[in-house]
Amino acid sequence: MKRGLLTTTVGSFAKPEWLQRARNRHAAGKVTDDDLAALTRQATKEVIDLQEELGLDVFVHGEMERGDMVAYFAEVMPGMRPGELVRSYGNRYYHKPVIEGELEWATPLTLDSWKHAQSLTKKPVKGMLTGPYTMVEWSFDEHYGSRKEAVLAMAKVLHREAAALAHAGAKIIQVDEPAIHTRPGEDFDLAVKAMEVVVKGVDAEFHTHICYGDIPRIYPGLLRLPVRQIHLAFKNTNFELLKLFERVAFDRSKDLGLGVIDVHNHLVESPKEVREGIRKALKHVPPERLWIEPDCGLKTRTPQEVREKLRVMVAARDDIRRTARR
């Protein structure tokens, strides 16, 4: 895989309506586990096929088996249980999990989904984990009572999962930490330490995704995260966030994931605005260290919007490459 303006996505894809219906019926006991698993595999194949069709470089499995990036782990991780609905923002809600006991890794949590997706394509598929700080911050802790203790226990569990993914052949593992800026003064060091626990000794390239918070307050501190790529939601600020790099240059040993697609807007971006965003970023980071991505997971959009937005993203990247070759 030759580096240089590689395209990928952040993790989730829109679930097809038939899968969402099946998930609802499964929750009501009207669809069996096996039938839901088969439908989930079918939806994953469609996500892989779409990424092939659009010409993305690094794939995701689309998280068809996950209702939410945190709640899913609560369904499968010993020590956690799924909770009840709590609002996240606007009209988005999630089943906020409860940490009710000692967190443990007994069996792989995400490996089957990754293996299935990777078996469908020759392109690399990222292993997708939610980071330890976000997992704890977005759960109710009824067991540990200390955020530090809970986050470090979670980090140990996720380390086992990352190791299992790498052992199975995952070359890139993304560990999302969208909550990392929740308490920048109080907890940032803890979040960095927890990430160190997750990645230590695991033979894979690590990426992280951070979005929708006070990034200036954690920059340049976030460069301490022991990952190869840091992805941020730039489109959300109309690329104003790039001004951070005027103050302190982006780390030369890291890649930057450039969010160029707003995942909270039905409107499809124009190729021109995506190209302009990429050009602005290229003033700060060379192409071989720049990745082109949406701002966040795509599950908030309809399947049609996902297709159109990603088509524009890839086309804009291709335009930039063509211009650079002239």
Binding site: L85, V86, R87, N91, H181
Partner: protein, 324 residues
């Protein structure tokens, strides 16, 4: 000692019926239903939320903010001179707000929250408190050139003041102004007493509370008590330093004691809560004070919010019995 809630309340529950507002909003966003159809569901849920609080014995309820996108953009979006931008984290919570941006001088055009307050009041057997985000917080959470922030605060104070007038005109007798952005500083923002006077000009006989959540205000608690509000509401869970500071004051102002953790599913012992509140007998007028959660309850699942209301009502009863 009476009971109240701080503002927001869970707008969904896990059942299908409990998610009707969520589904109605999604349908409206997909342009599959009319604004009138959405409004019907909003009012239905808003009235359910009011009745739920009242049925648990809460003395002064709120509409739960069930129609608000977030505590900032809901109001700001309807002001002249503001446009709404991207998502940002709302304090140290795991919720997000849309950041307003100024496009020029900001001006109130029409009543923004009155319809919801009237719908809530129509369904409530007890008084409904209107809740507004204050001008300092609205300004702090907006994108605005540094040189224009003071103007923005004044414009927003006038806008919130107009909204208070409209609420009072509609019959609101209890109004709460939220200023969570105070916790981001170490002192009362300079000139806030003037902003408060501007804002409260038309309050008439309405009872006003200033509420500060998501952190501590211990270092400037005496200055907060001097502001021209009838009562002061405090987050005494995240703001542990505030509790220590409160132990040192003697005031004739009613206090809304935010002693129940509105962000944790762990349930408090009503006796322990009552004990803390009772400590203030003689130094705070408990007969004009209230017991409440530390902030809005929408950070909790609906079932746990109800459990918290039960604890709250029982703890207040214990305080009343102890002071009788």
């Amino acid at each position: 000692m009476r009971t109240t809630v701080v503002g927001s309340y869970p707008r969904v529950a896990d059942s299908r019926e409990g998610q009707r507002l969520r589904h109605a909003v999604a349908k409206w966003e997909r342009r599959e239903s009319s604004a009138a159809a959405l409004r019907k569901v909003e009012v239905d849920v808003l009235q359910e939320v009011v009745r739920e609080q009242a049925s648990h014995g809460i003395d002064v309820v709120t509409d739960g903010g069930v129609t608000w996108y977030d505590p900032v953009s809901h109001f700001a979006a309807k002001l002249e001179g503001m446009e709404i931008g991207g998502l940002l984290r709302y304090f140290d919570t795991n919720t997000y707000y849309r950041q307003p941006r100024t496009r020029g001088r900001v001006r109130w055009l029409r009543a923004i929250t009155v319809d919801d307050w009237m719908a809530a009041s129509a369904a409530s057997p007890v008084p409904v408190k209107a809740v507004l985000t204050g001008p300092y917080t609205l300004a702090a959470m907006s994108a605005c050139p540094a040189s224009k922030v003071a103007d923005l605060q004044w414009d927003l104070a006038a806008a919130v003041g107009n909204e208070i007038d409209a609420l009072v005109h509609a019959g609101a007798a209890h109004i709460q102004i939220d200023e969570p952005a105070f916790v981001l500083g170490k002192a009362l923002p300079k000139g806030y007493d003037d902003l408060a006077r501007e804002m409260l000009q038309g309050k008439g006989r309405a009872h006003t509370t200033l509420f500060v959540a998501f952190g501590g205000v211990g270092p400037f608690l005496p200055e907060l008590l001097d502001l021209p509000f009838d009562a002061l509401g405090l987050d005494l869970v995240q703001g542990k330093s505030t509790l220590d500071a409160l132990r040192k004051v003697d005031t004739d102002k009613g206090i809304a004691f935010g002693l129940l953790d509105a962000r944790s599913t762990r349930l408090e012992d009503p006796m322990a809560v009552a004990k803390v509140a009772y400590e203030f007998a003689g130094r705070v007028p408990l007969d004009r004070s209230q017991l409440c959660p530390s902030n809005g309850l929408e950070f909790l699942p609906r079932t746990r919010a109800r459990d918290k209301l039960k604890v709250l009502v029982y703890a207040a009863k214990l305080v009343r019995e102890a002071t009788a």
